[in-house]
């Protein structure tokens, strides 16, 4: 199985489209960081408006953590698109290229092939989130240094410098789980069609529609919202609550994991019975 996963990763990283996500993150985040370097004071003032007359802020509030938190909240909505570029192509790409015929006539079960591809897709999703974390925190640290983190939720919370990094580790871990769900969904759609555009569009459509429904706070939509996986995807922010609602985080994490398994199970069911006519 490890050999199969290695082969799938090799194929993924030999394709140009794989690097679009890394390039996008590698370019966009430094641009945000540079912009914040010049305009960051204004952003900080906006966060603390109304409080500066009552409190005096000392220390380095404008640091890599503040920018990493901002970047995560902005990009976690957009990274799914980058994930689908690769995960949506994992099976549909083989159909488009006609390579199912040489792949599925090898002495290896469809179960193992699908599982290897699925795991390779998850690894790619995690690498993309790791890249986001590295560029946001790593490069941010070199430019802005570390300091306290100010977070505006229902109230304003300021975390001490030594109380932040573990929260980011867990937040990125949760974001990775959310992205694995996106990868699983795109992978499932990828098993249904024979071109990779379909899974990309389908996955993004589902996510956008669910996000819109989740954000409409009226009657029926509000009742529906907890049952949509998108409502559980942005719970990485809970790691910046004080105290953290662990039950809520664990429950949402379990829902996301269950969705991943469900989409993988459906893909297995579809693909092991599928007639390969391409």
């Amino acid at each position: 199985m490890i050999s199969l996963i290695g082969i799938e990763l090799y194929k993924i990283f030999k394709k140009w489209r794989t690097y679009i996500g890394f390039i996008a993150i590698g370019v966009l985040i430094p641009v945000i960081q540079v912009a914040m370097h010049f305009e960051g004071d204004g952003y900080l003032k906006m966060l603390t408006r109304g409080l500066s007359s009552a409190f005096e802020f000392t220390g380095n509030l404008f640091n890599c953590y503040l920018i990493a938190h901002l970047v995560l909240s902005v990009l976690v909505i957009h990274i799914p698109f980058l994930i689908t570029l690769v995960s949506g192509d994992l099976l549909a790409g083989e159909a488009t290229n006609g390579t199912y015929r040489i792949l599925l006539t090898r002495p290896v079960s469809r179960f193992r092939l699908i599982t290897a591809k699925y795991i390779a897709g998850l690894i790619y999703s995690n690498l993309l989130v790791a890249c986001l974390a590295f560029v946001s925190l790593g490069i941010g640290y070199l430019i802005f240094g570390a300091g306290e983190l100010i977070v505006v939720r229902d109230s304003i919370i300021i975390f001490a410098k030594d109380d932040i990094l573990w929260r980011f580790v867990l937040a990125y871990g949760y974001a990775a789980l959310s992205m694995m769900l996106v990868s699983s969904l795109a992978f499932m759609f990828s098993s249904l069609v024979e071109n990779s555009i379909g899974p990309i569009i389908s996955t993004m459509t589902v996510i956008i529609v669910f996000i819109i429904i989740s954000s409409i706070k009226i009657g029926f939509f509000e009742t529906l919202s907890p049952y949509l996986f998108t409502s559980h995807m942005n719970l990485w922010t809970s790691f910046f609550d004080d105290p953290i609602e662990w039950n809520k985080v664990i429950e949402s994490g379990a829902i996301l994991a269950a969705h991943c398994l469900f989409f993988y199970g459906v893909t297995l069911f579809i693909f092991t019975k599928k007639d390969i006519s391409s």
Binding site: K11, T105, R106, V108, S109, S277
Partner: protein, 307 residues
């Protein structure tokens, strides 16, 4: 030999919605056979091959390969099967040798680069081993398709129209390769084709299918040599020729006549006697064109399929 039958297909059927692609097909391939699998386009050849390779599932019937049921022994069987199915497609963004290396690894074979290079040499691609497959012509991809079917040294090689897209020299080389694999390496070859001559040249046994069902099956030598020939005689005086034919025992052998062309169903030894009869009665014979009835029958099938 280790197996009694290499392939045993019994009452195989496959439907695609309302289309019966394969209909109650039965065939046997024995060890060492070069088995020609003939039929016009749309006859059900590729569907049958896809079922042999578990790409699609049959609706009815059973397939045994190496005397074992395919469904229950898929992986064990496929370890000893090499195949090309329809047109050759590869990972275009990878080199030829990398494609082979990946496919060998997926097969679980511990194959060295030296062995891969030797396989590429067999199909004449050794100089392009490091070129990306997207730069290959169709013919080169077809050769690489044959290479990938050979890399794990299979006992059974299934070739689905392997000469498609090749130039005459390439076609000749593939035919020679099939003979080499069969005669010198002892491989069993299942060769699908819609070209009778191709099969005739290399196969010892063959089957012709049409509309997913068997038309004729047997030894190539029996099917091609013992059948009656359709012989066309071109004669200079049609009216006189018609009168002469009607007045002789040859009228019973006449299949059709149009203008100067008279077609007879004859045994091989009757051709010269009929030719002599026409000449002795003052007719000029401008041409004698023999065609085997099987060939004519197959051509008719192919033409119908193409239409």
């Amino acid at each position: 030999m280790k197996y009694e039958k290499v392939i045993e297909i019994e009452h195989l059927s496959k439907n695609f919605k309302n289309l019966k692609a394969v209909n109650n097909l039965c065939l046997n391939v024995f060890p060492g056979d070069v088995f020609g699998f003939l039929g016009p386009n749309g006859a059900g050849k590729s569907t049958t091959i896809r079922m042999l390779l578990t790409l699609i599932s049959p609706n009815e019937g059973t397939i045994k390969i190496f005397d074992k049921p395919l469904k229950q022994n898929r992986e064990t069987i496929l370890k000893k099967v090499g195949a090309i199915v329809e047109k050759p497609d590869f990972y275009g963004y990878l080199t030829a040798i990398k494609n082979l290396e990946i496919l060998a690894k997926i097969s679980g074979s511990d194959i060295t680069k030296k062995h891969l290079m030797e396989t590429l040499e067999i199909v004449g691609l050794e100089k392009r081993y490091n070129s990306k497959v997207k730069t290959f012509s169709f013919g080169m991809k077809q050769r690489l398709g044959i290479a990938q079917a050979l890399i794990h040294d299979p006992d059974l090689i299934i070739l689905d129209e392997p000469t498609t897209g090749l130039d005459p020299q390439g076609m000749k080389e593939i035919r020679e390769l099939i003979l080499l694999l069969s005669k010198e390496k002892g491989k069993t070859i299942f060769l699908s084709s819609h070209i009778l001559h191709e099969v005739e040249f290399v196969a010892n046994r063959m089957i012709i299918i049409d509309k997913g069902t068997t038309v004729v099956e047997g030894l190539v030598s029996d099917l091609l040599n013992s059948t009656a020939l359709k012989v066309t005689f071109e004669l200079d005086d049609p009216a006189k020729a018609t009168a002469l034919i009607n007045a002789s025992q040859w009228s019973g052998k006449l299949s059709s006549a149009a203008n100067e062309r008279f077609i007879f169903a004859l045994e091989r030894n009757e051709i010269s006697a009929l030719n002599k009869y026409f000449i002795e009665n003052g007719l000029a014979v401008s041409a004698v064109i023999p065609a085997r009835s099987l060939e004519e029958y197959f051509l008719n099938l192919t033409e119908k399929g193409d239409k």
